[in-house]
Structure formats: structure tokens, C-alpha cells
Symmetry: C2
Subunit: 546 residues, 2 copies
């Protein structure tokens, strides 16, 4: 998410989600914290969306209630994909969607800004960047882009428009940089079709192609190849069916030979007449491919004679999951074609030559790389300097940074409140860093709960100490360890004072915790989380020490 | 670990550890379950080790007590590395280490077997494979290998010996296959030196090279390049210092210009005179590179002017950790050279051409690929068939499979007891699958402990219900949720019966658990682990329901 602010006017560019890192267990989605924006919601003149991928639209259902009544601007397919989300979140009727056609080169006024969308190629059709005229000059936001000279939908990046921006004078280019590590030019999406054709030629039975639900152009290539080889195409996976449905309806996906068929129909056809497009190319355990691989899919059982194309590159962090699925598919008897064996995926992002060409077309006075990790920003800065941009005209920013664009300079002028909100089940923001840190600790060494009931009047333990553990050691296998712990804890409590009337419940609780932690560390060299609980059975009070 | 058994004789080849998968949180190491072997320990005639990597020697300190008095056979460096481990485990004095020199082509009798080690190239010096004459014919175990024509230590794979095995007739080849996805020939380790030289030529300040502690030949290249460019080389990381120490002592690492210096000495030298070799190229959080990147290293602070070479390829699953370290190094101002930018690492394993050549040299009647995941076995089988091995002569095995080699055939003839033992802290095998499953569940949604104290005679709750959670929601932020839960639980307990004397403690416990689980799922759509505890304050009994 990117904000542009001038006087009393704010526009928002994109509103996406991030996916949780391995260190954020149990988290479903990560949203940007928009406290800053929420406090200024009456100034938001519009939300401009570059394209329909989750990392650009996924946060809308969660954050839009704080941004309304600002309208959402997008191209046709982008708004189609957003509609489905807002409908599910019961927000559609309250939201104003304003469609633009980038081919018309519209100029959309939004407060102090004039926004001109321009066509770019990316791994989803109908993607755009924005040329934004601001009081401080023209800002070009590339959005996610590549320069594909033979795109599947035939729609090229609007080079003329970019060059025209260059002629008008670009004060600041905000450029995609995530693929800057790769030299040369990203291959055209079309090359994947070559691999498909080769596989279709040789496959004796069913073909399964796993890809991203949003990769509409990949689905188009499957449809085209299937038509060529006389196969029907069935979709498996809810998100895929939904996206394909919208893309067909809006004309971004074409099926002239009517090869798309229902899964039930596919099940009736001979194996060599069927292609399945399935979700789960990243090894997501609940998606179609994983379930097929582990024999848990309701409709499809895989086996000898089947061919699977895993048409994706694992996102860092997903490798183990993806390879586990591939191993299972092989074990089930299928032939599996994946990235190490054939060209089954190309990126939707610009490589070094394309990033240079974007700089040449727009000739910006200043650049800010975005949409990358810190190493990408650094490498982009190197590339931009090689392309003739002076070092002082390149600004590297972190989340939350405020970039001030004035007549004299473009500089980081401060920071606004920012951060992340975690979505977990139905809760948004209730699971924070402390909870996630606890989850990591629980996963490492487990937890021990130590409970005693005391009677302060009698000055003695009347129940316990009882110990319950989870994720620590198998309890029945460690009876001796646990009995030792109980004896140790009883001694520790006895040592606290002469009778419990002297020690308050919190002191006992603290003692219980530290004695248990010390005992188990000495015996096992591990540090499980210890949660003590001392209950006073006479007056029902209890305390817990953190 | 591989066993060969004939009559009353068993020999063991290698005894390594696996590293835990992301789904095995908190586990330090994974050992093979050697129940089968332990029950037959009096038959073990020898443990033959191919080379000194952890996945081939790492389990010895844990499992050797069950295998003694069987001697360990290995080449000089391999036994050197093993000695350190056994010394630390206080097993060295009880163990018989029998050194062999593969250049002498010894033939070692061990029960019914004659074992002939042969030199192979790998990413550690002094690596071997074994030609093993058995009553059923000659079995060749390649060990981990590549065919490096310009190895750093000048020691080539013993092609003649392999060809001689081929002439004698190889009944079974057990081949490394882990790099079978890669076409062509694995580059020589020497090419990494070219990258080093290029970096050394241009680096204005200190150079840090992160690699594996066992990659002795990589350290040799650093030493050679440093000598060429007039820099001193200091080591950071205990495992690295230990391995380098042994390799120097045994002559496998040479420092003719005496460039190796202490870190304290390095700290006194001008920046452009220093190279640090550091551990942590896989992003391991406690290793030197991670600590340097996050500013937590005791001796070294990184900054502008420094150059870091991350001389490794992330092992699948480690990508996020590695890239996090790289981002931090960039952020600290360092220049970072890594796999996406330059040739900083080559594999120690054979690619397709080398695997084919091994087949050509040994001309086996049967093959069993090993040391790979299932997809590697499948691709190796394809490669072997292309190389002329009939399909029925290729046997794919899983852990625990028994391969029977007879005059007629080589087939999987059964399975022995097998599996994994987890090392966690000081405990070996006490943390099992149940505990690990619990840890995963704890990490996903956290845990809730629900405690009530009841008085059965009075028929009432005298303490609680009290709820303690960890990793679920932030408690203070969810007071309402917790108060609601308590009220709900009280009702649920009241509904169990007319007075608690009717219901036993286990029934109450069960009710407490299911009521809490239902309440929290309804409110949050999440399923935390719920641990109930009902304590009878009158007679001190308690029960917990699983």
C-alpha cells in the first residue's frame, strides 16, 4: 500500500495482504496497520488498484470499512475480482467501484491529483501502472510489471504512454524491483506454452497442471493447448473456478472450442482426453494438488499413467511443502514435471534489462524502488546508478517512511505509525507479536502447567502440585522425571516460609515457576514455558505470575 | 545408514543424522532408529564410514554405545573428525578406530564381507566409496560423490578402481542420486575460487566468507586467495575452528604462507588486510553470520565498506532465514555477494552426466539409487533406463526396506523395524511423534488451560473456572472473551448433573474441555488446544482427560 498526500488530499495505491512467514505460526494473513490513514479517512479521495493479485487487493475486505466512502478505481478485470471479495464480505453494496479503461488513457481527478493509468504486462491481464500528476510534479508508479513482447492476451505494455510521461518530465519513478537479481529479460509467458505442448504430445493419460488461481494467462494457454490436442479442461479448486468464471464473463479468458468442462464430465471421459487445472502449486496443504497427492481428494485419484505439471516456482519458504507434494505424486505412480526438469513457469516481474528500459523510457529525476526486500532495493540502486541516475537521486525506503517530494529534493522526511495486523480465524489484530512469540516458544519446547491448591489457614498444600505438559516430553514415558519434579516443587514451596500464611499467593506462584524451570532445565537441558497456578481453596482466589 | 547382512555377519555403512524439518519444531537432530541392529549387535563386524559430513557420522555419539565393540573404519580425515565427536561424548577410549588409506587399495575382511575403499571427490577431502565383496557378489556403494577433474586437493576419483570393479562384475551398484535433477556435469569446486579472486580484487574493506564448517576445500581456496592478495584469514565459529584445526593437523589443509590468524590479531589489522571465514551460511540463528548481521556478535561489527560472500546455496526450507540475514547485512551497509549474483557455491554431488559415467564405469547388473527423496529415486531410475539398465534391474527402496541379493535377482524382500529418534536437548527418543504433533498444534492456535476446584461433598465449584492461555489471544485485550468463557463453563458444569457428587471428576473434566473448545471455536473460528483440570479440594485427587 502506497499513499500520496498533498494538503488535504490523500490517494491510496493498492491495498494488499502479505502471507505469514514461518516465524508467524497460525497466522492466516498479514494486513498493513492503517492507523495513520484511519485518522485521516475524510481526506481519502480514492483507492487506485494496479491489478487483481492478493498482494494488491487482499486487504480490501478487512480495511475498506475504515476507508469508505472513498471510491475504488480499477480496470475491468481488477474490479471484477474485487467485487467477489467485497460481496463475500458484505461490503459490495456500500462501495463505489469506478472502472477505467487504460486503452482510453483516462485522466482521473482525485483531489489535488490527476491519475493516468497505463497498461503493463504482468502475470494477470488488465494490469496497469499510474502516472500521477501531483503539485510537486509527475510521479510514475510502475506497479508490478514485465515487458512481454508476446503476451498471451496480445496486450503490450503501453510504451508510448511511458515515453510520453518521460517527455513531460518524471519527477519520481516508483519502480517494481523484486526480480532485480536476475540478469537479462524475463522470458515471455508464451514459453510455458511450449513446455505444455511437449507434455501434451507425449502424455499417455490424464494431465494435471497446478498453477496459481490468479494466473489467468496460464489457464488460457492450457485451454489453447487442450483444444489443439483434443482434451477437455476441468478446474479443481474454488479460487480457480471463481477467477476463471470472472475472467470468462468479462472476456479476459477465451474458450472458442468450448474445451472447459465440469469435473463430473471429465470423470466420464477417457484419461487421454482430460486435463485438470488445479490449485496448490505452492504445496498449500488444503489445496487440490496436496489433497490429490496424499489421496484425500474427493473426486480424483492419481496413479500410473497420469502426468502432473507443477507450473510454478516455490516462493521462498514453501520449498519443503512443494517437494513433499512432488515426492508423493511420484510415489503414487505419476510422472511429475517441475521447475528442475523443464521450463514450467516464468516470472511476472521485470528482470534487469526491463528495469533499465523502464528508466530509459521515463527518464526520472528521482527513483524509489519498491515491492522488494532490502536486498532488492540495494541491487536496484546499483542498477539505477549504472543507468546514470545519481546516487543522491535514489531513495531507499522502509515501510512507514514518508518521502517528501519538493521542488528541491526527494527525501525521507519522517515516519508515520505503521506495522502489521494479523488475521487469525475470525480475529483481526487480536493476535499480536506477544502471542506469536509465545507460539514460537511453545513450538520449540512445549509448555508445563504447574498447579497447587493451598489452604492458607491450615498453612499447607491441599492439592497438588500437579503437572500437565504438552509438547514437552511424553508424560507416561517420563513418569520418573515428573515424580522428581513434584518432590522438588514440594520442597521449594516448603522453603518459601513457615506456613503459607506468611507468603502471599504471588510469591508462591513465582517460586513454583522458577523451581520448575530450574528443575526441568537441569534434567533435560530444555526450557519449556512454565505456567504456575496457585489456588487458594478457602477463598477461591488464584494468582498467576507472568 | 546402510546395513549389509549375510548369515551371522553384519556391516554398517555410515551413521549419520538428519536435520529436523520445519514440521518438527524444537528438535535438534533426527537419528535413525536402530532397534533391528541393537538386537543383533553381536553380529556387527564393523562400521565403515565414507566421509566426515554430519549426515554420515553425526549419529555415532548417540548410537555407538549400542554398537560397540564393533570397530569404526575410515580414512584419516574422517576418523579425525569422528575422534573429536567421540571424545566429547566420552566414547573415544572405548572405541576402536581403524584407519585405512584408500590410495593403498586395501581389502578389509569383516565377517563374510571384504570391503575395498576407493577414492571419490566430494565437498570434503578424503571421501571414499566401498566395493564390497559379498557371498552374493560384488556390491559397489558410491557414497556421496562427484567427478571433479580439478579438485582443490588434487586428488581425483579413482576411476581405475571403479573400472576394475566393472571388470570383475558388479552385482549391485548403490548410487548417490541427490543431484539427478541437474543436467550435465557439476562444476569443479575450483570455479568458486574465481569468484573469490574477483571479489578480493575489488573489495575496499574486510571480506567475510560464510560457508559450511565441513567445507575444507572452500577454506583452502580462501587461504590461497588471501595469500595471493595479502590478507590474513581469521575463523569465526566453533565448528569451523575445530574442523580446520583437525584438517591442518592431518595435512588436509595447507597454509604455506601462514595467513591464518587469530580473530584478535585480525581486529588490529587494517580492514583491507582481513578476511573472516564464518559459519552460518544457512541462516542458522545462533551461528556467526546471523549474529554479525543482527549486530550481536561479540567480536565483530559489520558496516559500510565490508563485503560478505554467502558461499552456499540455501537448503530447501532455509531460504527465508538466509534471505533475512542477507537483508540485514545490506541494511548494515555491507555489500553482499550471494548465489543470485555470482557463482559462490557448487554442489558436492554428481549431476546427470556423472551419474551416467558411474554406470558406465561399473556396468552393474542391478542398481539401487539412494541418498535422495522419492523424486530423485524416480528420476535416477529414468536416467538408468536411458543408460541401458533394464527396468527390472532397478530397485527403488524406502527406509527400512530389506533388499535381498541372490543369484537370481535383487528384490525388496521385506521390511525391518525402522523410524526416527528425536534428539531434543539432553533427551534422545523421549520426544516422539505425539509431542511433535502437539508442538505443531500449539504453534498454530496456542493452548488454553481450564482449571476448576470442586468440593464433591458440598456439590459445588469452590475455585474457578480459571482460564490461562498462551499463544491464543492477548489476554488483557480479550477480557470480554474470557469472562464470557467462564460464564459459559459454569453453566456447562451446572448442567452435568444435580450436584457434583453424581458426576465423577473425569466426566466433569471432559465436559469442561468440550464446552471450552466449542465456545472458543464459535467466538474465534480457531481451535486452540484445551487442557482441562478438575481438582477435588477435599481429597486432593485430580484428573485430566486427554
Amino acid at each position: 500500500m502506497l499513499l500520496l498526500e498533498s494538503g488535504e488530499d490523500i490517494i491510496v495505491v493498492d491495498c494488499g495482504v502479505a502471507f505469514p512467514e514461518p516465524e508467524q505460526p497460525g497466522i492466516d494473513l498479514v494486513l498493513p496497520d492503517i492507523t495513520y490513514l484511519r485518522q485521516r479517512r475524510d481526506r481519502v479521495r480514492g483507492i487506485f488498484i494496479t491489478h487483481g493479485h492478493e498482494d494488491h487487493i487482499g486487504a480490501l475486505p478487512f480495511l475498506l470499512p475504515d476507508l469508505l466512502p472513498a471510491p475504488i478505481y480499477g480496470s475491468r478485470l481488477t474490479l471484477g475480482l474485487i467485487s467477489v471479495k467485497l460481496d463475500e464480505a458484505k461490503l459490495l453494496s456500500r462501495t463505489e467501484l469506478r472502472e477505467f479503461d487504460p486503452n482510453q488513457r483516462p485522466a482521473i481527478a482525485a483531489g489535488a491529483f490527476i491519475v493516468e493509468p497505463f497498461r503493463v504486462c504482468h502475470s494477470i491481464p488488465d494490469a496497469v501502472g499510474f502516472g500521477i500528476t501531483t503539485p510537486a510534479g509527475l510521479v510514475v508508479v510502475t506497479g508490478d510489471f514485465k515487458f512481454d513482447e508476446t503476451p498471451i492476451d496480445g496486450v503490450l505494455t503501453d510504451y508510448d504512454h511511458l515515453a510520453a510521461f518521460g517527455d513531460r518530465g518524471v519527477r519520481l519513478l516508483i519502480s517494481d524491483c523484486v526480480h532485480v537479481e536476475t540478469p537479462g529479460h524475463t522470458p515471455s509467458e508464451r514459453v510455458v506454452g511450449e513446455t505444455y505442448r511437449e507434455v501434451f504430445r507425449g502424455a499417455p493419460g490424464r494431465i494435471f497442471i497446478a498453477t496459481f488461481a490468479s494466473l489467468i494467462s496460464r489457464v488460457q494457454q492450457v485451454i489453447d493447448t487442450a483444444a489443439e490436442y483434443g482434451r477437455g479442461v476441468a478446474l479443481l479448486g474454488r479460487s480457480l473456478e471463481k477467477n476463471v468464471g470472472i475472467a470468462l464473463e468479462l472476456g479476459y479468458l477465451k474458450d472458442p472450442s468450448a474445451v472447459l468442462i465440469d469435473a463430473q464430465v471429465a470423470a466420464q471421459l477417457p484419461n487421454e482426453r482430460v486435463v485438470y487445472v488445479v490449485t496448490g502449486a505452492q504445496g498449500e496443504p488444503m489445496a487440490a494438488l496436496s489433497r490429490i497427492a496424499s489421496g484425500q481428494h474427493r473426486e480424483v485419484t492419481i496413479g500410473a499413467g497420469d502426468t502432473v505439471i507443477v507450473s510454478a516456482t516455490p516462493i521462498p519458504g514453501n520449498e519443503t511443502a512443494v517437494f513433499r507434494v512432488i515426492n508423493r505424486l511420484f510415489r503414487a505412480g505419476a510422472e511429475v514435471i517441475y521447475g528442475q526438469r523443464a521450463l514450467v513457469h516464468v516470472s511476472g516481474h521485470a528482470s534487469q534489462d526491463e528495469l533499465r528500459r523502464m528508466l530509459e523510457l521515463t527518464r526520472p529525476a528521482h527513483v524509489v524502488p519498491c515491492h522488494g526486500e532490502h536486498r532488492h532495493l540495494m541491487l536496484y540502486a546499483e542498477l539505477a546508478m549504472e543507468a546514470g541516475i545519481p546516487a543522491e537521486a535514489i531513495t531507499l525506503v522502509e515501510n512507514g517512511d514518508v518521502v517528501e517530494i519538493s521542488a528541491d529534493q526527494v527525501v525521507v522526511a519522517g515516519q508515520v505509525e505503521h506495522g502489521y495486523l494479523f488475521v487469525d480465524g475470525r480475529t483481526v489484530g487480536e493476535v499480536g507479536d506477544v502471542v506469536v512469540r509465545d507460539r514460537r516458544a511453545l513450538a520449540q519446547d512445549g509448555i508445563l502447567m504447574v498447579v497447587v491448591g493451598i489452604d492458607r489457614e491450615l498453612g499447607q498444600i491441599v492439592v497438588g502440585p500437579e503437572i500437565v505438559s504438552r509438547g514437552f516430553v511424553h508424560v507416561t514415558a517420563s513418569r520418573e522425571l515428573m515424580e522428581g519434579a513434584k518432590a522438588h516443587l514440594r520442597e521449594a514451596l516448603d522453603a518459601v516460609g513457615n506456613g503459607f500464611e506468611m507468603a502471599d499467593v504471588n510469591t508462591l506462584s513465582r517460586e513454583l515457576k522458577s523451581a520448575a524451570a530450574a528443575y526441568f532445565h537441569r534434567e533435560t537441558r530444555r526450557r519449556p514455558m512454565v505456567v504456575p497456578m496457585v489456588m487458594d481453596v478457602q477463598n477461591g482466589s488464584r494468582s498467576e505470575w507472568h
